[in-house]
Assembly symmetry: C2
Homo-oligomer: 316 residues x 2
């Protein structure tokens, strides 16, 4: 029969929870056997308050690794039990400073031996395992402080996806994806102009047949991004119709799609590569700048109202 241990790090959360629940239950039972009504959860706060003098709710919450709401509620029980009292912070009227009362200090002192026993019992149980549990825990805590588990997994996910993404040329079966991606982008930042609809519905006629190119980013069997090179009548190329599904942004897909277009431009005999965009799209502009585009004055007026930035590719 498999148990949680067999799932290694995957079930770590469940196992830590179960372990801490067991500890709290046992420590509560120990306090109760001494006739202490106060829950063991209060003791961590009391120890912090005794060590640090007076503390605000948020401050205490951060130390305990809980929300301020939890501490706010906890403080009520402790106030009622008379082990802490409160005072307004004179320099910040919002803050309620908590501090331990003589009764609270006495409670801690009176049960110092019990707390010593708990500490020693755990230290012993850990010692016989021949592993440095506390140091390992401190290390893990610190690692997750530096970068959360969420961010760590996202980084891995992105790395794995970026590796799995292929940049491919236009194929007729992806015609609908071409329109879908561009409309999604237009509706997010601007609105779909009349000319857009024409081009997006007939990419072969408007882009490929005049000598342009369409590229796709494909993840498994899903098309998640696109870019185009549109050939002008004077032979110049326009980098355009660049769009990446919201879900997969931040993977560096824009750079990949643009780089592929630049390569294509270089292989051609086209005299110039330019693009039009909008000042609002700062991340995109920064990307273009880093790829070797420089700002310039437009030579002819744009097909699109939204365009107010004009850039020319000058190479690296």
């Amino acid at each position: 029969m498999k148990n949680l241990n067999d799932f290694n790090e995957l079930a770590l959360g469940s196992r830590l929870k179960s372990l801490s629940d067991r500890m709290f239950a046992d420590v509560d039972a120990l306090y109760k056997s001494r006739g202490i009504e106060l829950s063991s959860r209060c003791f961590a706060s009391l120890l912090l308050l005794r060590a640090n003098g007076s503390m605000g709710i948020t401050e205490l919450a951060r130390q305990l690794g809980q929300t301020h709401s939890a501490v706010s509620q906890l403080s009520k029980t402790m106030l009622k039990a008379g082990v802490i009292d409160q005072a307004k912070d004179p320099s910040d009227e919002r803050r309620r400073l908590l501090q331990i009362t003589p009764a609270g200090t006495q409670l801690l002192e009176h049960n110092k031996d019990l707390m010593d026993d708990i500490e020693a019992a755990l230290r012993d149980a850990i010692a016989v395992t021949q592993h440095e549990f506390m140091a390992a825990l401190n290390g893990l805590d610190q690692q997750l402080d530096e970068m959360s588990l969420f961010d760590r997994v996202k980084t891995r996910e992105n790395a794995r996806r970026e590796k799995a993404v292929e940049i491919i040329d236009f194929e007729p079966r992806y015609r609908d994806d071409f329109k879908r991606l561009n409309v999604e982008w237009l509706e997010k930042y601007f609105y779909v102009e009349a000319f857009d609809n024409q081009v997006l519905s007939n990419p072969e006629e408007y882009i490929l047949e005049p000598g342009g190119h369409i590229f796709f980013a494909r993840l498994d069997d899903e098309i998640i991004g696109t870019s185009s090179l549109i050939r002008q009548e004077d032979g110049r190329f326009e980098l355009s119709k660049m769009s990446i599904t919201e879900k997969h942004q931040g993977l560096g897909l824009g750079r990949k799609l643009a780089q592929r277009a630049i390569e294509q431009f270089k292989r051609s005999d086209s005299p110039q590569l330019f693009l039009e965009t909008n000042t609002r799209l700062t991340p995109a502009i920064r990307l273009y700048e880093s790829l070797g585009f420089v700002h310039a004055k437009p030579e002819v007026e744009s097909h699109y109202q939204r365009a107010d930035v004009y850039m020319i590719y000058e190479g690296d």
Copy 2:
């Protein structure tokens, strides 16, 4: 500013809880970012069910380190989500066997990469700390399985107390304690007979002046146990009036108090040491046997109705 880390093992429960909460929150967020509505808590159960086939509620609860109630409630959500189904155990009509559905298996398979990422991210975070967190956790888990934290602390508490207990001779200022302890014992097991009250209220007259002895067990400034040697008219000693406060039983105090009485008997010129007790008090009888007392027929009738066992000291 001190934080929970500075309290070492004492605040371990709080720290583990906070760490597991963080993990659950992050993993939940990760699942949610994938559009999975099912809480991450369900996944541990699903993994166990997939690995082990069908399991009963209690069985699953034990593996998860939770109560059967928790699993019973959790199973409802999982049933409603369609990731598990249930069937009566044909060999035990009480048991409800849970098993994973194809939909559940598919959910796990479809998110295998995410689970791999979570596992790998944690493994990495642990690896850079240069500590073997998982091995240390397994070790601590196992230690606490072998003996609970509660029992460990109780053992320490008792050892510390036993060490701190002194066996002392009678002093007039402890006269009230002598009566209190004996009355407590009598009321618990029998009732206070008329002759008891006489003796207990006048220990000097009835016990010490005829050549007897009274011993006390003192913990700090508290008298927590007593025993007496009562000198008979024929010179024999009776081991009697043995009582230990309920709170401090199980510390081996009875043995200490009896041993002190035996020593005193040996130093005297008394021809015999005997005692009277009751068959109901098996732990006490076992103690007397281990100290060298043997069962015998009483030579004279007892002062007390409750006495139905008579023992004589024969040495080791």
